[in-house]
């Protein structure tokens, strides 16, 4: 039987990990993700899971241990944030190139400097080009559901790519939320017991070498399959989401459209801000403004076609980025959406707001300001910083 409980985002992810019961977890503590693995370590100590927990000396070692364990053919998970994720960067693309279905709980947090422990998306966005699937969560329920789905997606032979499921630091990770926890047996049945998804090192009859020097003549051929698997993963994500919806009732896609069907003005956002934006959109709708939102749940693979289709009838669009590319061309979400629209026959006028860096509050009045600016979108700069003192 499923049950409704109060859990923080971290507790929800730890609970999903207990139910998934991975073979190996290697992790190092970092705020605000510490609790996930701390709670999980208690499950290990209490004998509630069969996991071999590797307490490493850094995140670099954590991801390295994950790569080794995953290449040996077992189910592997980890969790980190911000500087910890940065310390993993050297190993993240190796996990992708080796096609290892490692699943990570990633709590979005600003990267230093200056040092800061609060939410923005700089850490995760800096990892967008490493061949990992990236799933964002609006709340604890989504984080819990997506983590369970991520095991299936990553281990699907059409994908075989590592996957990170993210929450927003403190806003989701530490706030209590009412969520539905599935029955243990249902989770076990849903994810399946195939732990030989990538059995390589442990096949003694057919010994292999993994991760070799790969120069001008083969490196290129080993990178392109990551691009292909990333493309193919869209279908798998939707299939897994469909099955999840049929079994457990909650529907997920690559994107979520909120009152977008007849919207004239709209925003694009991801993560916890989407919850706040829904309130603002409801307020605007009550006043007769045709406002809507496109929430990006899956940022990698990037749902370009789906976004273009969903936003083609919008007149004015603001993309919200909680990170910057320093290119003066906008944040990561904006630059990719603007690029996706280049060939489109019908496209909205589009502007970018970079907001909420280092955990700076994003509130209802600020989001009203964003929608207000869309009335005069021709006068908006390409990119502007929302809520910063000048």
């Amino acid at each position: 039987m499923s049950k409704i409980v109060a859990k923080t985002g971290n507790e929800a992810m730890a609970e999903a990990m207990r139910q998934i019961n991975p073979d190996v977890v290697a992790a190092y503590p970092i705020t605000p993700a510490t609790e996930i693995v701390m709670i999980f370590a208690k499950y290990v100590a209490d004998g509630l899971v069969d996991t071999n927990f590797v307490a490493v000396e850094s995140e670099h070692s954590a991801m390295s241990a994950c790569v080794g364990a995953s290449a040996a053919g077992v189910r592997v998970m980890t969790g980190t944030s911000s500087q910890g994720l940065c310390l993993m960067y050297e190993i993240l693309p190796i996990a992708a190139a080796l096609r290892l279905p490692i699943v990570m709980c990633d709590v979005n947090r600003a990267i230093s400097g200056p040092i800061n422990i609060h939410c923005d998306h700089s850490d995760t966005m800096a990892a967008r080009d490493f061949g990992w699937l990236q799933i964002f969560s609006e709340n604890s329920q989504e984080a819990y559901d997506s983590l369970i789905q991520a095991i299936r997606i990553a281990e699907d032979p059409r994908v075989h790519l590592p996957t990170m499921v993210t929450t927003d630091g403190f806003i989701i990770s530490h706030c209590l939320d009412k969520i539905e926890i599935l029955d243990d047996k249902d989770v076990t049945a849903f994810i399946g017991q195939d732990r030989k998804a990538n059995n390589r090192l442990l096949d003694l009859k057919n010994p292999t070498s993994v991760g070799l020097l790969d120069l001008q003549d083969y490196y290129f051929e080993h990178r392109v399959p990551v691009a292909q698997a990333m493309k193919d993963s869209k279908k798998v994500i939707l299939e897994v989401a469909d099955e999840f919806a049929k079994k457990f009732g909650r529907k997920y896609g690559l994107i979520e459209e909120y009152k977008l069907a007849d919207a004239e003005v709209a925003i694009v956002a991801l993560g916890s801000t989407c919850g706040t934006a829904k309130v603002v959109i409801d307020e605007l709708r009550a006043k007769g403004v045709k406002a809507g939102m496109l929430k990006i749940r899956v940022f990698r693979p990037f749902p370009a076609e789906e976004i273009v289709k969903a936003l083609s009838n919008v007149k004015a669009l603001a993309v919200l980025d909680r990170s910057d590319t320093w290119s003066a061309q906008g944040g990561q979400v904006f630059t990719e959406i603007r690029s996706a629209f280049y060939e489109a026959a019908k496209k909205p006028k589009i502007t970018n707001f970079i907001y909420g860096l280092g955990g700076r509050e994003i509130d209802l009045p600020q989001l009203h300001t964003v929608f207000e600016s869309l009335k005069n979108i021709d006068k908006q700069p390409v990119v502007q910083y929302l809520g910063v003192r000048e």
Binding site: L98, N198, P207, S209, L212, Y218, P225
Partner: protein, 102 residues
């Protein structure tokens, strides 16, 4: 490069059969090479156990020579050789007079 397989026919994820390092000759990286003096050698096999590239050739528990196709000239064997007063393995310049004849 047309005879090499394309990405669609390669095994997933840079995985190849084990043991192929022997086919890849790395000896031309050397700037110095170990030279073995059999008359001084006591066959303790310190060189064999220390060599990171399996380049000390042993037969019937005796040191018999050096695999110059794979030895990278790190010098660990010469460093570890315990024979005194003159070691049984000495590092010599790769293109020096003493090594050209070997």
């Amino acid at each position: 490069m047309s005879e090499k397989p394309g990405w669609k026919s390669l095994p997933e994820g840079d995985v190849v059969k084990a043991g192929t390092a022997a086919e890849f000759k790395t000896g031309d990286w050397r700037s110095e090479r170990p030279v073995w003096f059999p008359e001084r050698c006591i066959h303790c096999l310190f060189c064999w156990i220390s060599c990171p590239d399996s380049s000390i050739i042993v037969k019937d528990q005796k040191m018999t020579g050096i695999d110059y196709d794979h030895c990278k000239g790190c010098g660990i064997c010469a460093k570890e050789c315990p024979v005194k007063p003159q070691k049984a393995l000495e590092m010599k310049p790769e293109r020096g007079e003493e090594t050209c004849q070997k």
